[in-house]
Amino acid sequence: MNQTVSPSASTYRQVLPWIEIALLLVALPLPWILDDFWILFATKICILALLALSFDLVWGYAGIMSFGQALFFGVAGYTTALLATKNGMSSVLILMPVAALIGLVVAFVVAVIVIFGKRIPSIIFVALGTLTGSYVVERLVRGWSYVGGQNGISSLPRLSVGSFEIEEGVAFFYMALALLIVFYLLLRWLVRSQFGLVLAGIRQNESRILFFGYNVQTFKGVTFSLAGLIAGLSGGLFAFHEGFIGPGQLGPVLSTQAVLYVLFGGVGTLVGAILGVSVIELISYVLPQVDALGPGVQQFLETGWPIVLGLLLLVTVMFRPTGLVGFMVSERERIGSFGRPPKSQAATGSRPVTQPREAQS
């Protein structure tokens, strides 16, 4: 946390808010610009962005390596899909809170196993525990005919508010976007609050924070459960947007994808998660369709795109651990400041942002 101030810090300008505003300005008028297919595509990006945000929160801020975000996503998706198909529910006001709640509960149960306890578990154990959970539940669901087995649950009804049906398209897009913005703002506030400061401390030096008297496991467990809530909501939205939920949405494959989005976009910045989702999803769809690449390349990309993604992730991890955001944002801004900025900082603009603030309060 002892960030030394580099000489360039005096010319320090904030870039992140501009990226956020730019993304918002791009997203808001999309339905007027795009045709139906691309609106569906944009909605999917908004929904997956929620999943990516949840992973960014646990890994980028609390330093918990979770290979199980898809577990919360999938279980919430399955639960709401079952409620809709077996019990005929379709009200968004019931189903989406249920999805979020299920995500929260499942994440809490997983946290009880892998995070809470007398000993502080090693990071490998947490990674492995979440991966195992995700894998085991996928296997269970694949073999369980009540929830559709291999085929999953399809032909879900539309979500509705009262008698108004939320159709996939403009209405659904704005709903997903609104939820994304709400949770983005919530997390933005959370990770810059004193709570976020403790999380940053845990990420940097866990034993020191423990020595200060913080109950590290509680902080981690709460963060993990909150991330589960967001992932669950994302899963509920996804199921009803696609009209389908299958075992593929539960397992390690989607968990990997969440990891990929966030690491590529820029871990530890919330906007990085959203950038990562948008860029990867766009490239994955557009690139195999570009004719200029020649038929050979095109044919390769159709089947081999995941290979390219894997290599991309490797290169990111090796050479650019800060991801896409790292190209645009200074290290200092990426780490950011916590709580209310000191008054004098605005005037001089040269104070270290991560000065300990406990002394003041």
């Binding site: 490998i124 081999g304 995941p306 894997g310």
Partner: protein, 304 residues
């Protein structure tokens, strides 16, 4: 994806386990599975103990071993040639990856986790693209069974068990009786002192990683006749081997073997008693709970 243990179903059709005529083949199946599993876990455990990193691409090394056998068989070579080639081919891949990427990760185990995860993904998807997402079978070099009176014991499973025992004995001799083994043990105990004594730990690490990869490749090659090949065959092995390594305790070679034997035997034996899916779940949950309450591993008590 789901490696339904084919012989488990066959065996259940054969009748009750209490019957000694089917109990011996059952025991053999369990032993053969555990043997393969010990090979996989030993490779992973050696790397984890030595360099402190968990190699997420280990399951894909198993897959590559299996794929080598498949490819060679497609070209018309008998499958035993493929099985001899597999460990060397995978060792080459491992050495290449270690020199290019993985050696940069030793200082930071978390980055190593992500990096090897990325490698695993690229390898798995490459094999998936080459296989076209289907399942393939390869015939065993030795088909049939030894018949002793009324008992019949699968020849191929016998070979697997014998090979595993030979490999274990050779590894043990390598570790305890050779100069290289001394260097390896020195680097494990105290890397800084080993470097000060003129041992190139970088070379030892590269050799260890290559050795681990070779073991995975061998296991992959040997298991091909028992399991069908598909791009996802490595994933369940990876998760189970991690659990086995943690169960035995990171930092000791014996620990990995004990953990592997426990997890392997349980997960091979349980599907006879209960449904395979539930059995898998049980193995995972029990292992996770044990590791949670004994994070230092089962063997560490005996060493202190």
């Amino acid at each position: 994806m789901i490696l339904g243990i084919r012989n488990a179903k066959e065996a259940r059709c054969q009748g009750e386990l209490r019957d000694p005529m089917s109990f011996v083949p059952f025991l053999f199946d369990v032993l053969a599975y555990s043997a393969i599993f010990v090979l996989v876990v030993l490779g992973l455990g050696v790397i984890a103990s030595m360099m402190g990193i968990f190699n997420f691409a280990h399951g894909e090394f198993v897959l590559l071993g299996a794929y080598t056998v498949y490819v060679l068989q497609q070209t018309g070579v008998p499958s035993w040639v493929g099985m001899i080639t597999a460990p060397f081919a995978v060792a080459m891949v491992g050495l290449l990856l270690e020199r290019l990427a993985i050696q940069r990760f030793y200082a930071t185990p978390i980055v190593a986790m992500l990096g090897t995860y990325a490698i695993a993904m690229a390898l798995r998807e490459a094999v998936r693209a080459l296989l076209g997402g289907r399942f393939y079978n390869v015939d065993a070099p030795l088909v049939g069974a030894f018949v002793l009176g009324e008992l019949s014991i699968s020849k191929w499973r016998t070979v697997i068990i014998i090979i595993t025992v030979i490999v274990m004995v050779l590894s043990w001799l390598l570790l305890t009786r050779t100069k290289f083994g001394l260097q390896v043990r020195a680097s494990l105990e105290n890397p800084a002192l080993a470097r000060a004594s003129g041992i190139s730990t970088s070379r030892v690490y590269a050799a260890t990683f290559t050795f681990g990869a070779a073991l995975a490749g061998l296991a992959g090659g040997l298991m091909v006749p028992i399991y069908s090949i598909s791009a996802d065959m490595g994933v369940p092995f990876l998760i189970k081997s991690f659990l086995a390594v943690m169960l035995g305790g990171v930092g000791s070679f014996e620990g990995s073997i004990v953990g592997a034997a426990l997890v392997g035997a349980t997960s091979a034996a349980l599907p006879w008693a209960i449904k395979p899916v539930v059995a898998d779940l049980l193995v995972f949950v029990i292992a996770i709970v044990i590791v949670k309450f004994r994070p230092q591993g089962l063997l560490s008590l005996g060493r202190r």
